[in-house]
């Protein structure tokens, strides 16, 4: 039996889909058999982030409604042997699927896969209910901002009420320089306030923009700081004991800038 994990946040736009794509590919690169489920019905996104948007024939709602078999709807990623995607329906709405149906679907997938990762839509309505219904555990993504952390706290409360206790936290879009200057909350600050386990810290990274354009998530990019962070996270998910490295907050003055310029050119 594989693990079914929902990636959720409360506030929108904090990096759930980015995280789902990177964790999925990262786990696949470790040799795990992974399926990604996009539950953002009506606003599908994950297919574009992983670069599989042109291969969609059937979707989540088709499977649930019995219009096709599960095997027909799963898209296999040709770049990463053991990665599959179950896309969201684009023309339906969130009520097209029920929490019961999601529970059955996740159980079925957990038979065949090591990891079932569910990309949750923003908000706390039906889409959220569906996304968490079949999950064994949750990863909560937040940015280090007051509004995002506040919503994350709300989500953690709701998850615990649904019996998904001990969610793990990813703090995304950290800017080490700003943290050092005292102008951004550190990942540990956020962790302390929320009182949950910290799974990883992902820095703000321009590579993510490039990766999104290309449809090739940063986890496979050696020179990307966010990519490195995601690689560490997947190893933790796979059971390895990988310490959370403090992000490099040293701007190194003039020489540091020079060094970074050279590094960027090399990369």
């Amino acid at each position: 039996m594989g693990e079914v994990i929902v990636i959720t946040s409360g506030k929108g736009g904090v990096g759930k889909t980015t995280a789902t794509a990177n964790l999925g590919i990262g786990l696949a690169l470790l040799g795990k058999k992974v399926v990604l489920i996009d539950t953002d019905i009506g606003l599908r996104n994950l297919d574009v982030i992983v670069g599989l948007e042109n291969r969609i024939v059937y979707d989540l709602v088709d499977v649930v409604e019995g219009n096709c078999r599960m095997k027909q709807a799963l898209i296999r990623d040709k770049r990463y042997e053991s990665l599959y995607l179950l896309p969201a329906a684009q023309t339906k709405d969130k009520t097209a699927v029920s929490p019961d149906q999601m529970q059955r679907l996740c159980k079925e997938l957990a038979q065949d896969f090591d990891f079932v990762l569910i990309d949750c839509p923003a908000g706390i309505e039906q889409g959220f209910r569906n996304a968490i219904a079949g999950a064994d555990s949750a990863i909560v993504v937040t940015t280090p901002e007051v509004a995002a952390v506040r919503d994350a706290d709300r989500i953690i409360g709701l998850l615990e009420a649904e019996g998904k206790s001990r969610p793990r936290l990813i703090v995304n879009r950290i800017r080490p320089q700003m943290v050092k200057a005292g102008d951004m909350m550190a990942a540990d600050d956020v962790k302390d306030i929320l009182g949950v386990e910290l799974l990883g810290v992902v820095p703000e990274d321009e590579y993510i923009v490039i990766a999104t354009n290309r449809g090739e998530p940063v986890v496979a990019t050696p020179t990307s700081a966010a990519g490195r962070a995601f690689r560490d996270i997947v190893r933790r998910m796979a059971g390895e004991d990988v310490p959370i490295m403090p992000l490099d907050a040293d701007d190194g003055g003039f020489f540091g800038k020079l060094r970074r310029m050279f590094n960027a050119k090399e990369g």
């Binding site: 280090p144 901002e145 007051v146 952390v149 506040r150 706290d153 709300r154 409360g157 943290v179 200057a181 005292g182 102008d183 951004m184 909350m185 550190a186 600050d189 302390d192 306030i193 929320l194 009182g195 003055g253």
Partner: protein
């Protein structure tokens, strides 16, 4: 030399990181317990009623509020000015 200037000025202001933490702590106290002002008022009235059996309190001045005490904890803090003890309460 110039790098030192911002550091000197910064001392005066509270860092925005700390302000964010403080604002969050307060916001979360209320989100977490999810109590309405009406509920808090009901609690205040009930406390005055219960305590009145033992002491004579200044009902107008009784204040009841929730405050953060730790990462995931809140405390109910009440300030209850006492005018005098009730005779019955003093007997034993």
């Amino acid at each position: 030399m110039f790098a030192l200037l911002p550091k000197l000025f910064r001392r005066e202001k509270t860092r925005s990181r700390d302000i964010a933490m403080e604002r969050l702590r307060l916001a979360l106290v209320h989100d977490r317990v999810n109590v309405s002002p009406q509920t808090m008022e009901g609690l205040r009235q009930d406390m005055i009623y219960a305590i009145s059996n033992y002491m004579d309190v200044d009902a107008q001045e009784v204040a009841v509020k929730l405050t953060p005490t730790g990462a995931a904890q809140v405390a109910l803090v009440a300030s209850i000015p006492v005018n005098r003890m009730k005779k019955d309460a003093l007997r034993d």
